[in-house]
Amino acid sequence: MPHTATVPEAITDHALRAYLHGLPGVDEVGARARAQDLATRSIKTTAKAAAIDLAISMVDLTTLEGADTPGKVRSLCVKAALPDPADRTVPKVGAVCVYPDMVAVAVEALRGTGIGVASVATAFPAGRAPMEVKLADTRRAVADGAAEIDMVIDRGAFLAGRYLKVYEEIAAVKEACGDAHLKVILETGELVTYDNVRRASHLAMRAGADFIKTSTGKVSPAATLPVTLIMLEAVRDHHAATGRRIGVKPAGGIRTTKDAIRNLVLVNETAGPEWLTPDLFRIGASSLLNDLLMQRTRLSTGTYPGPDHYTQD
């Protein structure tokens, strides 16, 4: 199979290029049409209830603002463990995602909840820092207790065709992660073409990613359905070739329950039901959680509570 050929043992720019450019192309019109077609699936009643709870358990509840405070992070952690104080049957979220300097605060606040802390690292969101700074950033977050690291790739190097540099950075950060899981942010809004998304997905997986993630949330467009579709196809193909399941995390722009359910349908019909677990699919979001809670209440009681029934942070 051309797209799943093993990477040659000697990892060189030349070998990586041959491998990545040997992957089958992506027809943009066709990929968009498929994503659009799946977006028309109608998920109702019991299926919707199950999907909402699953989506809640997959949320990486995120705050990545310059204005973040320890107070805001602590509040978010309370919400992560008990998203709806009025209803204890609501599952907890997948993780809390913060900047590296807030990791210690979040770890402390989440102690005993079983919820992990994810930290962006490697000079998020631009990734424009010397390698030793990126590694130090990563090591510090892990030392402070982050269970997951969301790194950004060097898009400049990728777009310039310097695949080896991207590969080596991912491999080095993976090593710096130790036991922490590594999510690799491709920043698909800057890669632009779907061919690039497919190549970057395979490059990241080969270099050691545990998850591939669409976006930082700081660049538009962020997670679109066709991009998530391409990445789900990539993890499916990687599994077929290596037996290893890599996770996918769309992040940025997923704000409504409808958006979240469309993502779950994509997972179900592309990578398959094996990926319908927080271990293999996450949704990076901040405002999504409240909409999921509101729709959940609507389904069980028949009425919409006002937005003020849910906390902002």
Binding site: P24, G25, A31, S42, A47, P273
Partner: protein, 476 residues
Amino acid sequence: MIFEYAPAPESRSVVHLRETYDLFIDGEFTPALSGEHLTSLNPADEETLARVSVAGEADVDRAVVAARRAQENVWGRMSGAERGKYLFRIARIIQERSRELAVLESMDNGKPIKETRDVDLPLVAAHFFYHAGWADKLAHAGFGPDPRPLGVAAQIIPWNFPLLMLAWKVAPALATGNTVVLKPAETTPLTALVFAEICQEADLPPGVVNILTGAGETGRALVDHPGTDKVAFTGSTEVGRGIARAVAGTDKRLTLELGGKGANIVYDDAALDQAVEGVVSGIFFNQGHVCCAGSRLLLQESIAEEFLPRLKERVAKLRLGDPLDKNTDIGAINSAAQLERIRELTDTADEEGVERWSPECALPESGYWFAPTVLTGVGQAHRVAREEIFGPVLSVLTFRTPEEAVTKANNTPYGLSAGVWTEKGSRMLWTAERLRAGVIWSNTFNKFDPTSPFGGYKESGYGREGGRHGLEAYLG
């Protein structure tokens, strides 16, 4: 986790079925002089939907006379701009009633609501809008400064896209100043009868559109009637041949849109995931009841081993069941007779040693159903590679060189459609130039648009429908 989609049925309450439908002649619903009826079933559960009149020779005569009168006294004399207004009005009413029409079409035909809602109905409205725009611009269509209508058109349409085929026939005829007598298929007459109501709602002058329901005998009487100027038929090649014989030696103009055995050629450099999608929708769209279906997959040998498992994995994800469920991908086979024909032809594949595969797929107990089927190891000589199955059955053949692909694709008595899947522009153009088919899609399939002419080579018929070319079939 297993993500089961709960039933999501579209409501039937938008449809108001009458127990019995009369013929639509001269602007009025009128009982058939023949006194005969036929029954229209829902193929998904075999429930009776309505009783429909069968037009006999006397009814055909009434309709043709009404159409002639309307053409000579009203419609043919009306300015193009005025005709356009009626067509725009019809298009808008179709849009307003599109949910009702989509649900009714699903019930009468068996096709999924997803398709009637997202494909059939939008295209129906688009055809009327498009031709409404032509009505006052015919002098600029390239057929001379003052192209004239032919007169009365006899139109016979099939059951696979009932309302869409009506739109393909009626819209250009009316835009060019002709009047029509249209016979819908015997198994799917209901949306045409609602269209008759829409003509009334739009105040279309009486006699401009006449709808005669019935079966083969009604069609024959309509074709044989000496009072028409044009016959337009979409349907099987066998019936098309009979019509060509009947019309031969008369002054009538004829267009035929007949069967096909479309080839979908997938080269080894194709965008694989999208090619899989295109091959699947190329044959399983509308249960394969599509004259331009990509019923033969020609796969480059070097990727066959990789492509087929992906194809099967994708086919296994198709959701077969209640056509009114919004998540259904494959609905019911339109009739018992068609189901029988599909079974008979696929059985010959078993006898001829072709390998047959279908995903695990529970078929509903009542109604007419056929699981999506992929046949591999098919050679050019097998019946399933030569004859139109008109069902959800894909025949897979392989090729080594582009020359071989083109030779195999063209080696069929038909020539309606073909698909070419490659990321290489030069190869796509090289292939398309050599394919003898009326419609060639590249890196997509089954895309329709009113601006684009549609029609076939060889035994797939002659004449074009749609676009500027389609107008010619209705202008003298």
